[in-house]
């Protein structure tokens, strides 16, 4: 029997006997959801995660977090078109977090400080797998297979690994020293690299399938696509990618005074910039697409990286967007000009896109070279049985090639490829699928989880802060192979990391702990098992929802009581 106290005084904290949790009709739960940068990354990097680590001074862990998805951050930090930044919620607040700068910083730091890839050498009796093509997709696949414990043999027709990164990306965007260092470190982590082994010449698919448990094919696109205007081609036609490769391997370049490059991708832009570097006075890019910018839908914009386009323009490249070539003006078999016409992609009512040419908009431009840069397709040497005369492979989303168990494909050799980071993602997904295949497990599709939207954040808790910008070489100094974009210094990288809004992830701001009127949020750095730093004490949580509303990161959601 409760005995009345004199004057009805009460003892401290005795209200704990009253469990106000029984009032609750909704309960708060911690729900990790992907940040938009994560969902947007073709390589599958969780930028939010490594930004958080760097912001708390854990640079090496941050790098390890990157390489758990992408083993080539020093490369992708330079050459990726970083869709992560386009998706970044912070872009709607002030400016997107400079994720690529942080990625690059961490990649460079790893090289500078010799951080080891977090893999161990495979056991001598581990199963063997083969990867064909040592471009970003193949390197990524080899690395992830190594992580999974396989003995990996990586074949390439060239003497050095790197693929497109080495062959097609100019050094002013990706210095060879960085490429060599990162690729070298990766191979040294335990990959058996076999150079100058060309499929169909030095080895056959059948042998590979016989000698290895599974094969990952990342041959890239080595064959130029056919190009003509109404069947007409100049006699001295040079294709963009070939010129680029030549320039990068032997340093030679055609001579011209006015060049028209056809295409809107990275090859077109790189080609144009190299031509400028080689002293061509007038370099034009003619493209069906629009210049990227606000309000321009992604499927209408030039596929080249916007900052590269901008830099090209700074360097004097003239871009003619929404233009098509109507006619080549030939004198003899040499080109002396092109007739351009305005054109646009218009959306039909059914959603499909149609190219429309506008009559009466034709103009003529005098050029002495026309260089198509409209893309490549897969060279079917040694692969004919898989390609069936198609330009690209058609694997499933995990890279498995239907009808060919144990054969997986990724990188530029599949449709829709074309970026280094997408290739890295293909390699990772392919490696996972191969692992499951080798274990006799069914393939597992990626589960798409909606990212946290801007409106799910509480922006009242963030300060406006300008984005940290890396130094950039002025156009007049952009000569030769010197890298144009600098990197962030350590402080800048950390500040940039601190700008991350931590979408969908607890960053231990203490808001829920601070603002719960019922003290039903308990803080525990070590004890929370759900990725947060807090636990809800549901004995006392009344379910008011204040914590969810005031969580800056959208990490707390309210659910109906069961």
């Amino acid at each position: 029997m409760t005995e009345l106290t004199r004057g009805a005084f009460a003892h401290p904290g005795t209200s704990l006997a009253f469990k106000t949790g029984s009032w609750r009709v909704q309960l708060p739960v911690h729900q990790h959801r992907p940040a938009p940068c994560h969902n947007a990354c073709p390589a599958g990097e969780d930028a939010q995660a490594y930004l958080g680590l760097l912001a708390t001074g854990q640079a090496q862990q941050a790098w390890e977090t990157i390489v758990s998805a992408n083993p080539l951050p020093a490369i992708t930090g330079r050459v990726c078109h970083h869709p992560c930044e386009s998706a970044c919620n912070r872009g709607q607040y002030d400016e997107a977090v400079g994720i690529h700068g942080v990625e690059r910083f961490l990649g460079d730091e790893a090289i500078r400080l010799g951080w080891a890839y977090p893999v161990s050498r495979p056991a001598a009796d581990a199963r063997k797998v083969a990867v064909v093509g040592a471009g970003p997709a193949g390197l990524s696949a080899a690395y992830h297979l190594l992580r999974a414990g396989y003995r990996v043999s990586l074949f390439d027709s060239l003497p050095e690994a790197g693929g497109t990164c080495r062959m097609a990306i100019p050094p002013y965007r990706l210095p060879r020293s960085v490429l060599d260092a990162e690729v070298g470190r990766l191979l040294a982590a335990g990959i058996d690299f076999r150079a100058q082994q060309q499929l169909g010449r030095d080895l056959s698919l059948a042998e590979l399938r016989q000698d290895f448990g599974a094969v990952f094919l990342a041959p890239g696109t080595q064959k130029n696509r056919e190009w003509s205007i109404d069947g007409a081609v100049p006699r001295d036609l040079h294709v963009g990618l070939d010129l680029l490769k030549e320039w990068m391997t032997v340093g030679s370049m055609i001579q011209a005074t006015s060049v028209a490059i056809i295409g809107g991708g990275n090859t077109a832009v790189d080609m144009a910039r190299v031509l400028r570097r080689c002293g061509v006075p007038q370099v034009h890019i003619i493209t069906h697409e629009a210049l990227p910018g606000a309000g321009i839908p992604a499927d209408d914009a030039m596929r080249a990286i916007p900052r590269e386009i901008a830099q090209a323009q700074e360097e004097g490249v003239i871009i003619h967007p929404h233009r098509g070539i109507r006619r080549l003006i030939l004198r003899g078999e040499r080109v002396v000009g092109v007739e351009m016409v305005h054109m646009k992609k218009l959306r039909r009512p059914d959603g499909s896109v149609e190219r429309v040419v506008f009559e009466g908009t034709e103009t003529v431009m005098h050029v002495d070279q026309v260089i198509p840069a409209i893309g490549q397709q897969v060279d079917d040497t040694g692969l004919a049985e898989l390609l069936h005369r198609q330009a690209f492979f058609a694997p499933d989303p995990q890279g498995a090639l239907s009808g060919h168990p144990g054969v997986f494909v990724g990188g530029d050799a599949r449709p829709g490829g074309g970026s280094v980071s997408a290739a890295v993602g293909d390699g990772r997904r392919g490696a996972l699928a191969m692992d499951r295949f080798l274990r006799g497990m069914a393939a597992q599709a990626d589960v798409a989880v909606t990212a946290v939207g801007f409106e799910q954040l509480n922006l009242n808790y963030f300060e406006s802060a300008p984005r940290g910008e890396a130094p950039i070489l002025p156009p007049e100094q952009r000569k030769g192979q010197e890298e144009i974009e600098g990197g962030l210094i350590a402080n800048q990288a950390r500040q940039e990391a601190e700008r991350c809004l931590s979408c969908g992830n607890c960053f231990a701001c203490d808001n829920c702990w601070t603002l719960c009127p019922d003290s039903a949020v308990l803080k525990t750095t070590e004890q929370a098992a759900d990725g947060s730093h807090y636990v809800f004490d549901y004995d006392y949580c009344k379910g008011c929802g204040l914590c969810a509303k005031e969580c800056p990161c959208g990490y707390i959601t309210m659910e109906d009581e069961a």
Binding site: P12, S15, A17, D510, L515, S519, L522, Y540, G545
Partner: protein, 332 residues
């Protein structure tokens, strides 16, 4: 997805080892999203354990101490509605007589402060007792079921300032209690808001360091009385500040020495719209429109009078900021 929080140690142990002083325990019976419960928790947290509290009659008293339970982990006494200033004065006199340094806090709602307890409060301030008086301002008599007080804002609807054919809610203005308090020439008086916990903490700490009477007015939304979702308590409080209707200011000896600047004041309608007590102002009615304009004018007057609209650091940048930081660094 986790639907339960897992810990490897018993949650009761975890509760005991929280890295903050817990003046008010869980298990109190405040409404969902109660601004006053939160404000009192923040104040006691910042004030620390060496305090003694005199608490006026009101929600805070009722919901924390239904005998035999108490949520308090501090020496606490409730006496009456209107004598809190005097009870605190007595406590302080006793502690002074005994040579003890324990600080006395007095807690009251706006009814117990602006209205019925004003005389005792004024006496306490005039006599210079070393007491921090905290008024949890929820702008009406909430404990008795939402009757208007002299703190109720103009045009707000309460059960004793209802809306009808001839009335648009409260006819009178909210009493400018802080100016009256400051006129006692006390060392420190300030307004604060639950939407800015660091600012509350800063002001409480400052008051704790002062030997003499200090006063803190904390805007504390009442979901029941204001008619908003409890989840929005902070949002509503924040908008009150950001619209200029509830300026956060600091006064020393009656002189304005600090304000929470507003870089981009929000229209008062952003604040009013969230609350049922102002819903009549959003009807298609010329008087409603006039009252909205009136409230906007009151906010603008505050902004002008206190110089709130400035390009100084915004609240997120300034000292006492409520900017979140990774790892709860704003509390560091």
């Amino acid at each position: 997805m986790n639907t339960t929080s897992q810990t490897t140690i018993p949650i009761a142990d975890l509760r005991r080892s929280q890295p903050r002083f817990q003046g008010i325990e869980s298990g109190h019976r405040a409404c969902l999203g109660c601004g006053e419960a939160l404000a009192a928790r923040l104040v006691t947290e910042a004030a620390g354990p060496d305090v003694m509290i005199a608490n006026a009659t009101g929600c805070l008293e009722i919901f924390t101490t239904p005998w035999p339970e108490s949520s308090w982990r501090l020496p606490w006494m409730h006496s009456l509605f209107e004598n809190t200033g005097a009870i605190a004065a007595g406590m302080e006199a006793a502690l002074k007589a005994q040579g003890k340094s324990t600080k006395v806090l007095a807690f009251g709602g706006d009814g117990g402060t602006f209205d019925i307890g004003f005389q005792a409060l004024s006496g306490m301030l005039e006599r210079g007792h070393n007491v921090l008086y905290v008024c949890y301002d929820n702008e009406a008599y909430m404990n008795t079921g939402i009757q208007r007080s002299s703190s109720t804002p103009h045009a707000a609807m309460t059960t004793t300032s209802p809306v009808g054919r001839d009335r648009m809610g409260k006819r009178h203005l909210k009493k400018d209690i802080l100016s009256i308090i400051a006129s006692h020439h006390i060392p420190f008086a300030a307004s604060a808001s639950v939407a800015y916990p660091s600012d509350i903490r800063k002001k409480v700490r400052r008051a704790m360091e002062i030997e003499g009477p200090t006063f803190l007015l904390i805007h504390s939304p009442c979901p029941l009385g204001w008619g908003h979702d409890g989840a929005l308590s902070i949002e509503v409080a924040r908008l009150a500040v950001q619209s200029g209707l509830f300026p956060l200011i600091e006064l020393e000896r009656g002189e304005l020495i600090g304000t929470m600047p507003l870089r981009q004041p929000r229209p008062v309608t952003d604040y009013l719209r969230l609350q049922q007590r102002f819903s009549h102002l959003f009807k298609d009615d010329s008087r409603a429109r006039e009252e909205l304009e009136h409230l906007q004018a009151l906010a603008e007057r505050n902004i002008e009078y206190y110089g709130l609209n400035s390009n100084r650091d915004d609240p997120c940048d300034s000292e006492g900021a409520d900017t979140v930081r990774r790892g709860g660094q704003r509390w560091g």
